[in-house]
């Protein structure tokens, strides 16, 4: 449909959330600021601008879901809430790259852990990437984020047996361990955090920043995918895309926004894809590069007693004995953190098939589960392609020998902790690696094989692709989040981090977003 067929249906209206299925005709809007994406970055920016009186429109490709829509069924909620129905993979097929894709983004489906950026990481960025950040400014931003999210420590009474096993194992070995701060309140421990809270106990951006942005006048469109942003003659931008069908994400109607300012907050994969599709990659060689996936591998122990890992807060405890964060390399070492998912996810990830798999599933109640998190160097790269569902970005991710060595040391350590806590056997995310059955077996972990198809990682913290830095040759955005050389075009999400910002990225993204919006307002743009 040609542009002439579009009509301006709304301008200057606000305080409303519009779902794509409510739209019947092509849409063209004018606003001051367009925010693309409603996750940790976009929500904070939208709130900050709207409350300052800036006319703001937010578009979100995913759907609008409320607590009553959360069915606690993996087969319904994972396709509904996750990017690419939960099956976004690295190009070698080994790493399942998880991102939220719904109103509130990943804050709706994350573990609600609130982990700020460690001080050595900031120093690393200053020394190696030219980010001379004002730490006082960031601390103030983080304090505002914590207040909005109502961040609090997880109470000991909320630590379920699955998480307690990690603490017990670490304590017996004399290793550092602890419990997270989180953004839950009045949690009843149903255990479905990763597929959306049905009780509004997890305080994602869908429950604070976004509704308050709407109260302040912002308009939010869900089920809308923006695919290109181009500069208009005379200033401002024209963003074009489509209303998409819920589920299939196929285009149904044209959608266009004219804005003075555009803030890309579509996540570390899609913000870069939009910039590339818009032609901004040609003079910015860093676009799509320097991607960190911070891959994680599952560690599963069979315990002598029932664990029932799927009930209670899925992730409240961690072992940080091997954290190695320094100004020289940023995040380093490894850590393991208890976790659980739903029964279908557990079944799909469990090694084997046939009768052996059924036998193992009968013992699922006695399974204690964790993820080994191994911080990485940002060596991944995005290659941009498209299909009937819009962007189909390829994520190329090489593992270095040093990283694999650290991974194997981490697997050994996590297994050691589980045996200290009484485990009968310990498995890793592999279909071919025989489980460890005693402490005497631990060194086999140091030969853990990495083979595509039968070795399984996940990434919940994809970062990079639009790195922040002072130089357009090695970065994409400047220290104010503005794309080098393009006044009024910003990127505010996990894609701007030069290296991994933290072991959990919601708080770093929100902190930088809070800082970014204040800088936008200070500029008076």
């Amino acid at each position: 449909m040609g542009r002439e067929a579009l009509r301006i249906i709304k301008t200057g209206i606000g305080a409303v959330i519009v779902e794509g299925r409510e739209l019947r005709t092509p849409v063209a809007l004018r606003t001051h600021t367009l925010v693309i994406g409603s996750g940790a970055g976009g929500a904070v920016v939208a709130h900050g601008l709207a409350t300052a009186g800036v006319e703001t429109v937010v578009v979100e490709e995913g759907g609008y879901f409320q607590a009553r829509d959360m069915t606690q069924r993996d087969e319904q909620m994972i396709p509904a809430l996750y990017r690419d129905r939960g099956q976004q993979l690295s190009s070698d097929g080994m790493i399942n790259v998880l991102q939220g894709s719904c109103y509130g983004g990943s804050t709706v489906i994350n573990t609600a852990d609130c982990e700020p950026t460690p001080a050595p990481v900031y120093e690393h960025w200053r020394r190696h990437y030219g980010l001379d950040l004002d730490l006082r400014e960031l601390a103030d931003a983080q304090a505002r984020v914590f207040e909005m999210l109502d961040v609090r420590a997880i109470d000991a009474s909320q630590v379920n047996r699955n998480n307690a096993v990690v603490l017990e194992g670490a304590r017996k070995l004399g290793w550092k361990a602890g419990t997270f701060q989180n953004n839950r309140s009045h949690c009843i421990g149903s255990g479905y955090c990763l597929i959306g809270c049905a009780y509004d106990a997890k305080k994602g951006a869908n429950l604070n920043y976004l509704p308050r942005a709407v109260e302040a006048g912002a308009t939010i469109y869900t089920d809308v995918r923006i695919e290109r942003v181009v500069a208009r003659e005379g200033g401002g931008f024209r963003a074009t895309g489509s209303v998409v069908a819920r589920g299939s994400r196929t285009a149904t109607l044209p959608f266009e926004v004219q804005a003075e300012r555009v803030v890309l907050a579509a996540g570390a994969v899609h913000s870069a894809a939009i910039l590339d599709a818009s032609g901004f990659g040609r003079e910015r060689p860093a676009l799509g590069r320097n991607v960190s996936l911070q891959p994680q591998m599952s560690v599963a122990a069979r315990m002598p007693e029932d664990i029932i890992a799927w009930r209670g807060i899925p992730q409240s405890a961690f072992c940080s004995e091997f954290d190695d964060h320094t100004p020289e390399h940023g995040l380093g070492g490894f850590r393991f953190e208890a976790i659980s998912g739903g029964i279908p996810q557990i079944a799909a990830g469990l090694a084997g098939f046939g009768h052996a798999h059924k036998e193992a599933m009968v013992h699922a109640r006695a399974g204690a589960l964790a993820l080994l998190l191994v911080p990485d160097a940002p060596r991944g790269e995005l290659r941009f392609t498209r299909d009937e569902r819009g962007f189909a970005t390829r994520i190329d991710y090489p593992m270095t020998d040093e990283w694999v060595t650290r991974l194997r040391r981490g697997l050994r350590a996590a297994a050691q902790a589980y045996f200290a806590a009484g485990a009968i056997e310990v498995r890793f995310g592999s279909d071919i690696f025989e489980p460890l059955r005693s402490v005497a077996d631990l060194d086999r972990a140091l030969d853990f094989p990495i083979r595509s198809g039968v070795t399984h990682f996940l990434s919940a913290h994809v970062q990079g692709s639009c790195r922040m830095g002072p130089d357009a040759r090695s970065s994409v955005v400047d220290l104010d989040h503005q794309v080098h050389g393009v006044a009024g075009l910003y990127v505010v999400d996990a894609s701007i981090f030069p290296t991994s910002a933290s072991t959990h990225t919601m708080i770093p993204v929100m902190t930088f977003a809070d800082r970014a919006v204040r800088r936008m307002l200070a500029r008076g743009v």
């Binding site: 069915t71 939960g86 049905a198 029964i343 098939f353 279909d431």
Partner: protein, 186 residues
């Protein structure tokens, strides 16, 4: 004991490329095969009848009846449930599944030293074929194993009837009626 991981229900494009050449050989496709294709439901949304038949056999290999508990893929018509689950998937994923099924039918017996079609083998031989994919030195065969396995297991254990055997008491929220839902997924 189990491993937490969001399912990799994916059939990589390169698996399509790897086995795509097979489909160029006359008669070398699923469509010429199953005599029991007439049993396929008439309202399949993604799979064709031949794929449905073969997926039923494959699912029966991944989740057989009996053993630790009685329920198996055949008891719940897992192939039909997978067909429904795949609605809305990317075309490349659906093509990949077709290619993966083709590879299992014709390639997995060869990988395990048999000259036969997967769907004509007995249960033990079929298990050996699947194990051969898993243990193969060829990456695409391992990826087919992983993709089909995770699709079958994720979908099977999403069915309420499978939960008593593993001690899962199901969602805490009231199950919504179908009429209250807008579409097949929220």
């Amino acid at each position: 004991m189990a491993i937490p991981e969001v399912s990799r229900r994916v059939f990589l494009r390169r698996s399509v490329q790897a086995v795509g050449a097979l489909s160029l050989v006359p008669g070398f496709a699923l469509g010429c095969a199953p005599a029991d294709a007439w049993r396929a439901p008439s309202d399949l949304r993604v799979l064709d009848a031949a794929e449905w038949v073969l997926l039923g056999v494959v699912a029966d290999t991944f989740v057989p009846q009996g053993g630790a508990f009685e329920l198996g893929a055949r008891d719940v018509d897992l192939a039909t449930r997978i067909d429904a689950f795949l609605v809305g998937e990317r075309i490349t994923v659906l093509r990949g599944l077709s290619a993966a099924l083709l590879l299992i039918e014709w390639g997995s017996p060869l990988a395990s030293g048999r000259v036969a079609r997967f769907s004509k083998l007995d249960a033990d031989a079929r298990s050996a074929c699947i194990a051969a994919l898993r243990d193969s030195r060829i990456a695409v065969l391992r990826e087919v194993y992983a993709g089909v396995k995770q699709l079958c297991l994720f979908t099977f254990y999403a069915i309420d009837a499978s939960w008593p055997a593993v001690g899962y008491d199901g969602p805490w929220v009231a199950k919504p009626s179908e009429s209250s839902r807008q579409g097949s997924a929220p």
